[in-house]
């Protein structure tokens, strides 16, 4: 592992790749800061724009976007009481109260330092835990990989949305989309309707962009907000140093980071869950829990450290097993596939420079956040917040259109983009989660081919695919993940009935 990391270092610090991480971090900060745009949207827009470029350049931008966007959401949360991303909701509780007391600059400093610490620890956990986990996956055969795919679908569909049925339907939609194109086992073309662009399946770039970039554009159009943030809010002056109080903050940073990392690793969890859990934990152990929600900087620190710590950790199951720990990780998984990089042991064996380089880029972007997220930089990049959102919607669309067209030089892709975007907007309005669709498209063909292979190896004996200890564990985990929400719902209804 050390050898692979050392050999990846020159690639990571190549000027172009360094620039990519910096650019991605700045872009992430802006995207995260803009309410209505999420990190997922930003990465979905990035994928077609970086298609065809060197993988480490593209992944460097994604790494920067992930960490930058994660902190960016705190800026409007603290200044305007509007969460830039869902994961910055807990930051509002104390961050905006600090702004009301004239401590906006200090709150932003606490947020960025906490975010950096969480992101750095998370990137270190990625570097430490992913290689051993990938070695474990070498024990997996076709049957086990089939169950891994099923577990991945079950976890994401049940945890990313609040509604289990809708989560499962979303996963099924993705699985159905995944059947479009040539069946690799029989060579038969399925659901292509003699359209040549569909022969290899629906383009993942078009799908990702349609699912995650078009709905926010449509939302912005429907809201038609004609004013941006007031420029006065960006007149920030330094208000003391957070680092001089590191002894006070350190326990919160460490505890919140551990919470964020654990939540990040759990497939399907993450994001707002980690920041709320970290916030509640900090409140629970505080000597002054009543001061939380009234402008306590420790609340901002806990929320942002938990939020940052979730990032790289959510990539641990994604890179090793192909099961993403969050919606953003699901889109990054799609981004890897666009560059011909399929998660799992092969990725670590065949492309060590890229994969270890990407892990180092997550670490690098976490450090860069300290510079890019500083007060002076926030004043500069935060200017984007002053643009009215009604203007941003078509601007985003200009990037999306040119990026998607350039992937295959195809107008067909642009029409598909619009069709997928329209359906995605309806799905979003009806609270169907989009991430399971991506997972379905990615994991569906894998599940189908591995199941067929496992059945061929076992001579058609269906029982054999569930008989190995690893398969049994994976089946048990899948059942647990699927039944846990039902159990919770049953418990809640019982409580409601007795109340």
């Amino acid at each position: 592992m050390i050898e692979a990391l050392v050999s990846a270092l020159p690639h990571v610090f190549a000027p172009a790749n360094l620039f990519a991480v910096l650019l991605g971090t700045v872009a992430g900060l802006v995207v995260g800061a803009l309410p209505g745009l999420t990190v997922t949207t930003g990465i979905a827009i990035l994928i077609p724009l970086t298609f065809g470029l060197d993988p480490l350049f593209a992944l460097g931008m994604m790494a920067g976007m992930y960490n930058g966007g994660s902190y960016g959401g705190a800026i409007p949360a603290i200044l305007m009481r509007v969460p830039g991303t869902p994961a910055s909701v807990a930051t509002i509780l104390d961050g905006y109260e600090m702004t009301k007391r004239g401590q906006a600059a200090y709150a932003l400093q606490v947020a960025v330092v906490s975010g950096v610490i969480g992101s750095v620890l998370s990137a270190i956990s990625l570097i430490l835990f992913a290689p051993p986990l990938v070695k474990l996956s070498l024990l997996f055969g076709p049957a086990e990989f089939f169950w891994v795919a099923v577990l991945g679908l079950a976890t994401v569909s049940s945890l990313l949305g609040e509604d289990l049925i809708k989560g499962l339907i979303a996963a099924l939609i993705g699985l159905a989309i995944g059947t479009i194109g040539q069946d690799i086992s029989t060579g038969v073309e399925r659901f292509t309707f003699d359209l040549l662009p569909l022969a290899d399946g629906l383009d993942i770039v078009v799908l990702l962009t349609g699912l995650f970039a078009i709905p926010p554009v449509m939302q912005m159009i429907e809201e038609a907000l004609k004013v941006g943030m007031s420029g006065d809010l960006l007149k920030l002056r330094r208000q003391g140093s957070v680092l001089s109080k590191w002894r006070e903050f350190m326990p919160i940073w460490l505890r919140s980071s551990v919470i964020g990392i654990v939540i990040g690793i759990l497939p399907g969890a993450g994001g707002s869950m980690s920041c709320f859990l970290a916030y509640n934990d900090a409140k629970r152990i505080s000597k002054n829990p009543e001061s939380f929600g009234k402008g306590n900087p420790e609340g901002v620190a806990a929320s942002e450290a938990g939020n940052g710590a979730d990032n790289a950790a959510s990539l641990i199951p994604a890179l090793t097993l192909g099961i993403p720990g969050s919606g953003v990780a699901a889109v990054i998984l799609g981004g890897l596939l666009v560059h011909g990089l399929r998660p799992g042991p092969q990725l670590f064996r065949d492309h060590p420079d890229v994969i270890y380089g990407f892990m180092l880029q997550m670490l690098l972007s976490a450090f860069l956040l300290a510079i890019v997220g500083g007060l002076a930089a926030t004043r500069i990049f935060g200017q984007a917040l002053r643009l009215p959102r009604i203007m941003l919607a078509p601007i985003i669309m200009l990037f999306v259109a040119v990026g998607v067209y350039a992937v295959n030089n195809s107008m067909f892709d642009l029409y598909m983009l619009l069709g997928i975007g329209l359906v995605a907007y309806v799905l979003e309005k009806l609270d169907y989660p989009s991430a399971p669709i991506v997972l379905g498209v990615i994991l569906g063909p894998l599940a189908e081919s591995q199941l067929r292979l496992a059945l061929t190896i076992s001579g058609g004996n269906a029982v054999a695919i569930a008989s190995s200890p690893i398969s049994m564990i994976l089946i048990a985990l899948t059942l647990f993940v699927l039944l846990a929400p039902l159990w919770r719902a049953w418990q809640d209804s019982r409580k409601a009935a007795t109340a």
């Binding site: 065809g52 159905a176 059947t179 659901f191 159009i221 429907e222 040119v402 067209y405 009806l430």
Partner: protein
Amino acid sequence: MESDAMAVRSALTRRQAEITFAAALIAAASAIFIEARKFPPDSAGYPRTLAVLLGIGALLVIVREVRRPRESGVQPFFDHPIRFIVGFGFLLAYIVMINLFGYLLPSVAFAIGLPFVLGYREWRLLVPVVLGTLAMILLIFRIILERPLPPDLLNFLLEALP
């Protein structure tokens, strides 16, 4: 315009949208099941299974919506239906225009026209931002990355770029 909006708003409630979309999913699942008849059994089994599960899931959504108390489903599906229609119309027209005229002119028309139609009038901000964005896209895509743009009416200008 506001009265039109009210009319459309009251026409489609969240409950109706839930049921309509679930019904569309059942229709799609049926189409998948029927289309799969054309494939050999090895290729048809998996999509057919998915179609059945999708149909059952959508049916569960319909049953749940029908059984839900009526008061919870009266909220409108669209907050501003007219804006949605205008927005989608603009997006569709934008793609069609790219097909006909290339990227540049439709992009200018789209990025300036849409905010204008939705009531935005700050030209001094809108025009420079749109033109600046397009210049940046051209710089990145055409000059730095040498990536293709759709065939454009202004190709003679684009070819003059370094």
